[in-house]
């Protein structure tokens, strides 16, 4: 046991506890305020204000017995202040001011009830945050704040931008929503299905932000994957019969399951085929596979996220790297390619084809897409080509390819790897 906590430690612990208490209440608080004010952006603001107030007052006076009640009373008081400042209140707003003032006069406990039934409101919140009118980064920030209860600071750290940048994104987004009359609307029916795509897109963006960045520098980054998974679960509660939601969950669970194996003890990245599969989270893989099965049951087998999940599932199903069903993976990439015309997907298909049918088959496909403009600066193209050429014994050409890849590489580690591979063509005289 360490020595007694310093004042700073103790202060940090208190803030963490307050923050945790607020987070537990946050869904109900936001739903209650949203319903009451009929204004999602305002409700969201007041929810965060309530946290700030708690952080100011509770360290002095202690955490109240009923923290939820305290938070909602505080938020309502601020709502009243806000409404009073707004000129030209609508009739509804005037009524609201009247009601809130009456509450203020009455015992504070009377109307500090929090709505437990958050369902309808949750639908409204997530679809508002992910409205296609808003830029994708703004959608992500709003969704993380409202659905996952992240603070601006936490979002800034997660995306490696300044707090000011996040604040600005959110302010602009709220303005757009207000100006477009979207402060309190609910998509339903067909509109819901259409809008679903923009929600899935945001969740996937957040997941990839956490997933691609899990190099151990920023502790919050792998946590972004957890936040994305949580949002997925929220969406499942709202749209349980949408196959693609299960497909996205599957994709995320199956990818996240490999987290522990993706870096070695020095923090260097380990490629999937080189990973120690004993470090894969089998429980999470189980969840992912079940979600994939459900997605298929619901008819989403050939759709964007479900297809990608199916590809990752092929890896999860393989006991060892050698046991991987590359033929199946190549087929799935083929389906994905037909769905979304993308040279990057074709390149991935080439890799799978190379593994399934030999390097010549892979190389043939690579040559077909080599001139795609979108792949011009994509270092994986010459890297993959170099690999096939090496396996075919065409060493001088392989070296050229790897050197080309090294020049295009986007970070030092990748560049070094490509340079090593280029050098190795001279030494080995054959496949690595």
């Amino acid at each position: 046991m360490s020595a007694a906590m310093t004042a700073a430690d103790s202060d940090h612990a208190i803030r963490a506890a307050i923050h945790a208490t607020w987070r537990v209440v946050q869904p109900r608080l936001l739903a209650t305020l949203s319903r009451m004010l009929r204004d999602v952006p305002l409700a969201e603001e007041l929810t965060q204000d309530a946290l700030v107030a708690a952080l100011e007052v509770w360290p002095r006076n202690g955490v109240p017995d009923n923290p939820g009640a305290w938070l909602v009373v505080t938020a309502k008081r601020r709502a009243l202040d806000h409404l009073r400042r707004v000129k030209m209140l609508s009739r509804k707003q005037e009524q609201l001011v009247h009601d809130l003032m009456q509450e203020q006069d009455a015992m504070p406990d009377l109307d500090s009830a929090l709505d437990d039934d958050i369902g309808d409101e949750w639908l409204r919140l997530i679809f508002t945050a992910c409205h296609p009118l808003l830029p994708r980064q703004a959608r992500a920030a709003l969704a993380l704040r409202m659905i996952c209860g992240l603070t601006t600071e936490e979002i800034a750290r997660a995306f490696l931008v300044t707090e000011a940048a996040v604040t600005q994104r959110i302010v602009r987004a709220k303005r757009t929503l207000a100006q477009s009359g979207l402060a309190y609307e609910t998509p339903s029916g067909e509109a819901l299905s259409e809008r679903l795509a923009s929600v899935l897109e945001v969740i996937y963006l957040i997941f990839n932000e956490g997933y691609a960045a899990s190099r151990g520098e920023e502790w919050l980054r792998p946590q972004l994957c957890d936040e994305a998974l949580r949002m997925g679960r929220v969406l499942l509660g709202i749209a349980p019969l949408e196959g693609e939601v299960h497909g996205l969950m599957a994709l995320m669970e199956l990818n996240a399951a490999r987290t522990q194996a993706r870096t070695d003890l020095d923090g260097e990245p380990v490629l999937l085929m080189d990973q120690d599969r004993r470090l894969w989270d089998r429980l999470q893989i189980g969840r992912g596979l079940r979600a994939l099965a459900r997605a298929r049951e619901l008819g989403a087998a050939g759709r964007f996220y479900t297809l990608q999940a199916a590809i990752v599932a092929c890896h999860a199903d393989a006991e060892t790297a050698e046991a991987t069903d590359w033929r199946r993976i190549a087929e799935l990439y083929g389906e994905l390619s037909a769905l979304v015309r993308s040279p990057v997907i074709e390149l991935n298909r080439a890799v799978a084809l190379g593994m399934a049918e030999g390097p010549q088959a892979g190389l043939d496909l690579v040559e077909l897409i080599a001139d795609e403009p979108t792949l011009k600066a994509y270092h994986h193209l010459p890297a993959v080509r170099g690999d096939f050429l090496q396996k075919l014994g065409r060493l001088a050409e392989a070296r050229e390819s790897f050197e080309s890849a090294a020049r295009l590489a986007t970070n030092a580690r990748e560049r070094a790897l490509m340079e090593r591979r280029a050098a190795a063509t001279a030494d080995s005289g054959g496949a690595l």
Binding site: A17, R23, V24, I118, G232, D276, R278
Partner: protein, 135 residues
């Protein structure tokens, strides 16, 4: 982080009161919709259960009811939460329901994190060491 809540009591369980049942139902629905509760369940009374026990190298099957009035598990819940602080705050909410709707009841909610390869202080050997040992 995934946590399991295990609720135990040393008092004879007549089962949760209807008021508690309703309150638990409400909190469960809310927390499932919020994407935090993964699973939950109440367990049938110990008397209806059975035990498979190993003692002195011998395995035996014992059908309920059981004589000892030890701490009995009444139910469990599984949550996916940010950290231990959040898990404790949630557990307090959970237990407050018991206080509100079943006054006079004494019991414990044990909060345990699921073990993963990266979890510090996991009682299982760290997965990497295990992998190294197997290599």
């Amino acid at each position: 982080m995934r946590f399991m809540y295990i609720v135990t009591s040393s008092q004879p369980m007549v089962g949760p009161s209807p008021a508690l049942m309703e309150a638990m139902q409400t909190i469960s629905e809310r927390e499932i919709k919020a994407g935090r509760m993964i699973d939950n369940g109440g367990l049938m009374p110990l008397a209806t259960g059975a035990r498979v026990r190993i003692l002195d190298g011998e395995l035996s099957v014992i059908d309920g009811p059981f004589v000892e009035a030890k701490e009995v598990i009444g139910g469990y819940a599984v949550f996916e939460l940010r950290d231990k602080a959040e898990a404790l705050a949630m557990a307090k909410e959970f237990m407050q329901l018991h206080l509100d709707h079943m006054p006079g009841w004494d019991g414990t909610c044990e909060v345990r994190a699921f073990a993963t390869a990266g979890t510090e202080g996991a009682c299982q050997i760290d997965a990497r060491s295990r992998a190294a040992a197997l290599a």
